[in-house]
Amino acid sequence: MASTHVWNPEDNAGATVPVSSRRLSQLGAAVAFVLATAIGIALMSPDGTRRLSHAWLLSGWYAVSISLGALFFIAIQHLVRAGWSVSVRRLAEFLGASIGWPLLLLAPLVLLLLAGHSDLFPWNDPETVQGDKILEGKSAWLNAPFFLVRAVLYAGIWVTCGRWYLRASRRQDETGDASTTLMLESRSAVALLLLGITITFAAFDWLMSLDPHWFSTIFGIYAFSGAMVAGLSVLAIVVAVIVRRQLHPAINCEHLHDVVKLLFGMNCFWAYIAFSQYLLIWYANIPEETVWLRHRQMHGWDSISQALVIGHFVVPFLVLMPRAAKRSTRLVIVMSGLLLVMHWLDLYWVVYPQFAESPVFGLTELLTAAGFAGVLAVGVLLQLRRSAFIPIQDPRLPESVAHHVH
């Protein structure tokens, strides 16, 4: 079907989705309510603020990583002059452009840091640092003002990048100027470079420094692989829903197949990076490194670790391997959903052992996760109102529509 379909301009009809303002404000209110409830619960329970700050960071990074994954996807597609992905690229652009919302919600954590709170980051507590030679050595990097500067830098780059891609793409919707594609291609090299460096150092700052003693050089790539899995999972679910409901002829099973192939590959990459990190630390057995992993193999964290191995890698790997599975919308939705849960669990596994002796899960975690996911959804819907969800004038769109996986 796909190979015979020829793109006509009248197909643009139906590429825009009317999102009613009422629905949007209802969703916004629901998100605000959910997050407010989470804050309320935290304020009322003992140790609640500390817990909330961890949950907040976890959910915040979760939402940000989905957007970052989408941004990486866009940059790579431009850079390699991909044709097949054009019709689904706008969806990723929506996700990428919405990165500002979760980032904005993360801002209070930095402000608390400036106010001297060390609930989240022990290195912000002068008493902890004093006398600890290693932490004293790091204080040039791990201090609240510099942390703020860096956080602003990362956020600035990400927001600019996300908005820039969407704006340029939308402009092309109107002008149909092929040179926009060339411009995006050449600048994507720089964008990719900036994204790669910022996600690395952001992961060091926001996740790795939760345990200020611990370090791992691969951690930035670990964060990148997780973000790619998350971003592609969301994309796969959206594409699967579009294909299932046959919302638009430009997005079909062929595109789903390729998105899921990428997801499959990136998930294997995540497993590869996670295994490499684990094996090297396990093997060299140097106390200052193993302590981090060791804690994650005790006090109930061991079952989380095992769940990650099975749920994040083994099950999706086996299920998504056959060609038919990658083209089945139902299976793809289930597996991408699983991967989204697993990506949350992966971050939980990174963040929460710094907070709690054993795994804890309650309303705080649930509500913040739902809240941040909702925030991202609101961001996407806001963008969706404003333009087509297909780059209707992209010079490679006909190629993408005719795309056919052999």
């Binding site: 790091k138 092929a178 411009m183 951690f219 090297l280």
Partner: protein, 485 residues
């Protein structure tokens, strides 16, 4: 912006006098792009027969060209020197190398990692680019795969002879022996044995299977009995039947899917040789992806280094176009940035981690007695490829050869820096030493190039250098049958 406009205009002008289905851009530069048009894999007017003729005739010349003979003579000289030195090493002992306390791993491991890394580009081109549906790979994959196999051959020599008593090399494999003992499965060195063996075997099978249709072409064109029998046996009776092609395509896809994780695992495991230890500068978790990126980096640099003279000499410019070379330069640039990223992160974490031994190891790298090697590495691997940001450099063949030679030098030095700087500074300062290679070290490394080029020249002379069947399958003929899988 102005530039892009001009480029577009040029492209559009070209398109006017070309068939829309077959965008063959003739002799003009096919590196310019109109996003709406996919340029063909080749330039010029090519037909199935012309591809067959062009590629096969290279392997059918009754006498070798003079230049080939000279190059072959030099290479065989190098190979003989290598074999003589191996004989000398076996008769005398590994003491003929410069390896000595505390640098027990000297040039042999450096050469091993260097050559294995070179091999990675071939698999990347044949497998990963295949999975990514990069049709342009069809012009260069045979060439790059051959390079993989020869590079792995060169690589395999060094660990095999460094064990000292080479006649016990089978102890590396889990075969029952008179000692009733087994190899240590917890050792990364054993993993290496499995990884490199599996890699060499799978690459060779992949290469050979992919070559069957082309060997059949040579068989069917053979004019002498010897050639007919030799290529006839080698082609195994390939007839190009629908059933065979169906199996072939499926097998090719499966082998690509298998070779992709395999190629990643090989240099990952090579990196484990270092990173599982506790030696400062060796033990760092980024090693696996960093080594893989470095391997692809050096491998692509080697492909370019060989490809540019080969396409010139064998007249393959219409098949291996400037666009191919430009794409490869971009891969070199990208992987070069990854390697640079790893250098940077290693340094940052060495400082951030607060481990004084790690900090010393890195300061020693940059400022210690081997600083010259370190800065050679950084200049060749990180700075030199930056020139590839400029399109002018990416499209001038000889400039890219120069840069790629630097990259290869740099990647050899990377392994040297990792191996020797860390080892030469033992935990016990009284054991510190400065590694000096012996003439045997140096000549053996040169000899391995002799072996590599010998095999390579034989390949160029007797085997189809370009995957004819694959190129034909991406040519526009009939309807849209442009994808090999």
């Amino acid at each position: 912006m102005l530039l892009t406009r001009t480029v577009l205009q040029d492209t559009l002008n070209t398109r006017e006098h070309t068939d829309m289905a077959t965008v063959s851009l003739g002799d003009i530069d096919n590196t310019i792009i109109d996003p709406a048009v996919r340029p063909g894999v080749m330039t010029g007017d090519n037909s199935l027969a012309s591809i067959t003729e062009q590629v096969s005739s290279l392997a059918e010349q009754p006498t070798a060209p003079r230049a080939w003979k000279i190059a072959f003579g030099i290479s065989v000289g190098g190979t003989l020197m290598l074999f003589a030195l191996i004989g000398y090493l076996i008769a005398t002992g590994v003491g003929v190398w410069g390896n000595n306390a505390p640098v027990f791993w000297g040039w042999p491991i450096v050469n091993f990692v260097f050559w294995v890394g070179i091999g990675h580009a071939g698999t990347l081109i044949s497998a990963i680019l295949f999975l990514f549906r990069q049709n342009w790979r069809t012009s260069i994959n045979r060439f790059a795969e051959a390079m993989t196999i020869f590079a792995v051959t060169c690589a395999g020599i060094f660990p095999a002879i460094h064990i000292g008593r080479v006649w016990f090399v089978y102890w590396l494999a889990p075969v029952p022996n008179s000692l009733a003992m087994w190899p240590n499965f917890r050792s990364p060195l054993l993993w290496d044995v499995f990884a490199v063996t599996a890699y060499a075997t799978v690459s060779a099978m992949f290469w050979y299977l992919g070559m069957l249709p082309d060997l059949a072409t040579l068989r069917d064109r053979a004019t002498t009995k010897v050639r007919r029998i030799a290529y006839g046996i080698a082609a195994l009776g390939w007839s190009g039947s629908g059933r065979q092609w169906r199996l072939f395509e499926k097998a090719y896809l499966l082998l690509a899917a298998l070779a992709t994780p395999l190629v990643l695992s090989v240099h990952t495991i090579v990196s484990f040789d270092f990173a599982t230890s506790q030696i400062p500068g060796w033990h760092t978790t980024i090693f696996p992806p960093y080594f893989v990126a470095g391997a692809v980096f050096s491998g692509f640099a080697m492909v370019i280094t060989l490809m540019v003279p080969a396409r010139q000499f064998f007249g393959l410019k219409n098949l291996v176009t400037l666009r191919h070379l430009e794409n490869m330069c971009k891969v070199v640039l990208a992987t070069g940035m990854m390697v640079g990223y790893a250098y940077g992160i290693e340094f940052f974490i060495a400082w951030y981690g607060g481990n004084q031994y790690e900090q010393f190891a890195f300061i020693n790298r940059a400022l210690g007695p081997y600083a010259w090697a370190y800065w050679t590495m950084v200049s060749c691997n990180v700075l030199a490829p930056q020139l590839f940001w400029f399109k002018k450099v990416r499209t001038s063949p000889w400039a890219m050869v120069a840069i790629c030679v630097f990259v290869n030098i740099g990647m050899w030095f990377e392994r040297f820096v990792i191996t020797v700087t860390s080892l030469s500074r033992d935990f016990l300062p009284s054991s510190w030493g400065y590694f000096v290679p012996t003439p045997v070290d140096i000549l053996m490394f040169l000899g391995s190039f002799g072996l590599f080029f010998t095999l390579f020249l034989l390949f160029c002379r007797y085997l189809p250098m370009v995957a004819m069947a694959e190129v034909k399958s991406v040519m526009p003929h009939g309807k849209d049958h442009s994808c090999p899988a």
